[in-house]
Structures are given as C-alpha cells and as structure tokens.
C-alpha cells in the first residue's frame, strides 16, 4: 500500500515537472510583442538574416522550398534593435524573428553538448535543406565567433548577421 502510494506520488511529480517546464501560448499571445522605441540615448545593435548563398546554388535547394526563398536572398534587411541588459546574439535573433513574424526553429541550450542554442532553421530553410553541407552560421562585426550563438554577449553597436551556408561556411567567408 505504501509503495503504491509512492508510485502515485512519483507519477504526479513527473507530470508536475513536465507542466512546470512547459509554456503554452496561443498564436495571438505569441505574436503580440511590443517593439522597443529607439531614441538617441538607447544602445542599439543591428541584425540581418540572409540566404544569398543559395541564390548561387539554387539547384541544391529542395524544390518545395523555392517559393519561400526571397528573390534577392535577404530574409531580414540590416535592422536596428535596442540592446537590452545581458542580451546575447540569440536573444536578439529571437526578438527580431518574433517581431517580424519570421519562422525559426532552434534546439535549446540544454539539448546539445555545446551548451548553446543551435539554430536549426529560419524562414523554413533548415540545416541540410540545400545539401549535406548546408546550415545557418552567425557572424558578429564581420567575424565568425568561436562560440555558440546563445553564449555570445552583445555590446553596443554590434552588427549581427545570420547567414545560410551551402558549403560549411566556405561560401560566406567562414572557416571550414
């Protein structure tokens, strides 16, 4: 009897842990975000998202994804955002995609061995969508940081660019 009670408590605990770590929002709730007002005093950073590398190798892209590919390959033009306290490059990306209703899927920092968020896909363009060497990379101030996107702390004036590569970064100036 005592052990059966223990079993019930264990199951209840597991359910409680599952629901306490899960945030459920409706589409309207998720999309209703307030934009920060940029004034002269606010520190700002810049973000752009592009998949221009695919334009050169369009044959590599799966045919069903062609219609989601912008004509110039730019998904988000270089845009200024307010830099919040302790903002990482990933926080900025998450905010920007949410404000501009751009689809993004990522793997959480706790789900991989790098202790950093891994961006799997933006605007329906995923890793391996354009060949086995394709995926998303990020650069800050024209260089590719040697750490995960959610571990890179931003400072005022940083220019973050999310770029799609079809050749392990070689086609966008990154190292192999």
């Amino acid at each position: 009897m005592k052990k059966d009670f223990l079993l019930v408590v264990c199951i209840a605990l597991l359910i409680a842990i599952f629901f306490s770590g899960t945030k459920i929002q409706s589409v309207e709730q998720y999309e209703s975000v307030t934009k920060d007002t940029i004034t002269e005093e606010t520190p700002i950073v810049y973000l752009s998202i592009d998949a221009r590398s695919i334009k050169k190798n369009e044959k590599l892209l799966k045919p069903e994804l062609l219609k989601y590919m912008p004509s110039d390959g730019v998904i988000l033009k270089k845009t200024a955002y307010v830099l919040r306290k302790n903002d990482t490059a990933f926080d900025l990306l998450l905010r920007a995609t949410r404000q501009n209703k751009i689809q993004m899927e990522y793997q959480g920092a706790t789900d991989n061995s790098f202790n950093s968020v891994y961006v799997q896909g933006i605007n329906y363009l995923y890793e391996f969508s354009a060949g086995s060497n394709s995926g998303w990379m990020y650069r800050v101030n024209e260089s590719f940081p040697n750490k995960g996107i959610s571990r890179y702390k931003l400072k005022e004036g940083d220019v973050v660019a999310l770029q799609y590569t079809t050749n392990l970064g070689n086609d966008i100036g990154g190292r192999q």
């Binding site: 009897m1 052990k3 059966d4 223990l6 079993l7 770590g21 899960t22 945030k23 459920i24 929002q25 409706s26 589409v27 709730q29 998720y30 799966k62 069903e64 994804l65 989601y68 998450l94 689809q103 899927e105 990522y106 959480g108 896909g121 329906y124 995923y126």
Partner: protein, 287 residues
C-alpha cells in the same frame, strides 16, 4: 491451396522489402494507409480476431505516443496551432506525425504477418542455395523476439502457479516481471548461440548438399513478381513526381496512375489469398 502464404519464400521476402522501401521513400499517406489495411486483413486471415485486436490496441497506443512526441520535438510548418516553449506546434507536424505513426504501425503489422508467412525454416530454405550462413543468421534474428515472447509467457504462467507474484505491492510485482523478462532475454540469447552451433555441427553450411524443393515458382508467384517489378520501375522513374512532402507546406494528395501500379502490387496478396480460399472452399465441397 495456392495462397499468398504458400508462394515461394523469395517472392515473399521481395514483397516485404519492396513494400517497405516504396512506402519509406515516397512518404505518401494514402499508400501507407492502404499498406496498413492490407497487413491487417492478411493478419486476420492468418491469426485470430482476438490476437489482431490485441496487436491493434498496442499499435494504437504506440502511435498516439509517437504523435505526442512529434508535436513536442518538431516545429517546422507554416500553420501554427499554438506555441510550446516559444516554438510553434503546427498542423504540418501533426500530419507528419500521423504519417510516421502509420509507418511504424505498418512495420509492426508487417513483422506480425512475416512471423506467420515466413517462419525461419522458409528463410533458411531461400538462402540454402546461395549463402546458408546468412540464411541461418536471418532466421535466428527474426525468431529472436518471438522466442523471448514465448519463453516469457511460459515462465510467467509457471511462476504464477508457484506464487511468484503473490504480493500486494505493485512495485514487487513489477520487479518480479522485469526479472522474468531479463531471464527470458538472456535465455533467448543463449538459445540463439546454441542453435547456431548445433546447425554448424550438422554441417549445414557445407556445400554440395542436396535440398528438397518444397516451393516452386507458379503463376501466382510470377504475377506478384511482375507487379513488384512494375512498382520498382515506377519508383525509380517517377520518384521526384510522386515524392510526398509535409514541410513547410503539405503537398496536396493526388491520385495518379503510377500510384495505382504501386497499390496493385501491395494489395495483390489479398487477391491471391481470396483466390486460394475460394479454391479450397470448392475442394472441400467435393470431399
């Protein structure tokens, strides 16, 4: 009686292989649904209704788990229903998860049908002429889980009588069940290796043996082979056109003549089974 079960075992192996390859490569929901239905009907004709229902209960609960798991881990698609930890749960993922669940159900059902139509002796029979070692290996692999199941059932029955589960604590009962399951797994492993040694000592894998030809290629086998060949050719030449995708936007389901070829190859065993049963019915009436 010439029904599907009595076809040459090599035809049966080719049938299962091609069905699995075609369905996995095309990702087509209507094909997987028809394949599942075919397997359920075949299983019904070889097994009892109670057994099939038990299998279906297990498969349905497993498929539900798959659907829930996919909603939690996949977030691609253009139609979000709601957001889970800032990631969208989309209609496309729901459709894809249902397809995957059906695919898993098809695998499980085809394994069940395989157990009835392709016992280990038939697999060994097919490979005897070419590679006996592979034949024995495959037969042992396929028989591994059913052996565990049979042994486990027997052990549980015996231990029940001995009062092994006679405790009020659910934990103790689970632990006893797990112990019996582990015993059965180790027993099956040991049995597999022993059987392999036994087969080798009987000089099974030596060449120049004479074999009794129990199965032969007849009209039914040729008809099934021709249809499977047509399905393979269709897959090779029209894969790009027939390939179904779910992301980012699910492709619209279309009825094409090429689909008919594949469907016919998949459901042909049902016709063979029906033909066999009708023939047997008339044989019986003359007895």
């Amino acid at each position: 009686m010439k029904n599907f079960k009595e076809l040459h075992p090599s035809v049966l192996i080719i049938y299962y292989l091609i069905c699995i390859i075609v369905i996995s490569l095309l990702n087509e929901p209507q094909l997987v649904s028809i394949a599942c239905l075919t397997m359920i009907i075949l299983l019904l004709s070889y097994s009892t209704l109670q057994h099939v229902l038990n299998e279906l209960v297990f498969i349905v609960s497993l498929t539900l788990l798959i659907v829930i798991g996919f909603l939690y881990f996949y977030h691609n698609g253009i139609t979000p229903m709601f957001y889970l930890n800032d990631l969208p749960v989309t209609v496309e993922v729901l459709k894809y998860s249902m397809f995957t669940a059906l695919l898993v159900a098809f695998f499980l059902l085809s394994i069940q049908v395989m157990i009835h139509t392709l016992p280990s002796n038939r697999i060994i029979y097919v490979f005897t002429a070419f590679i006996p070692t592979v034949g024995v290996f495959l037969a042992l692999c396929i028989r591994f889980i059913p052996t565990i199941k049979e042994h486990y059932k027997e052990r549980v029955e015996v231990q029940k009588i001995n009062g092994y589960f006679a405790t009020k604590s659910r934990f103790d009962r689970y632990f006893a069940t797990l112990q019996l399951l582990a015993d059965s797994i180790f027993w099956a492993l040991e049995n597999t290796f022993n059987k392999w040694t036994l087969i080798k000592t009987r000089a099974f894998n030596t060449s120049r043996r004479t074999t009794f030809k129990r199965f032969s290629f007849n009209g039914s086998a040729y008809s099934q082979l021709i249809l499977l060949l047509a399905a393979t050719i269709t897959l090779l030449f029209y894969w790009d056109e027939l390939r179904f995708y779910y992301f980012p936007e699910t492709k619209i389901i279309e009825q094409k003549s090429q689909h008919l070829v594949i469907i016919l190859a998949m459901v042909w065993p049902l016709f063979l089974e029906l033909k066999g049963r009708i023939t047997w019915f008339y044989y019986k009436s003359k007895m």
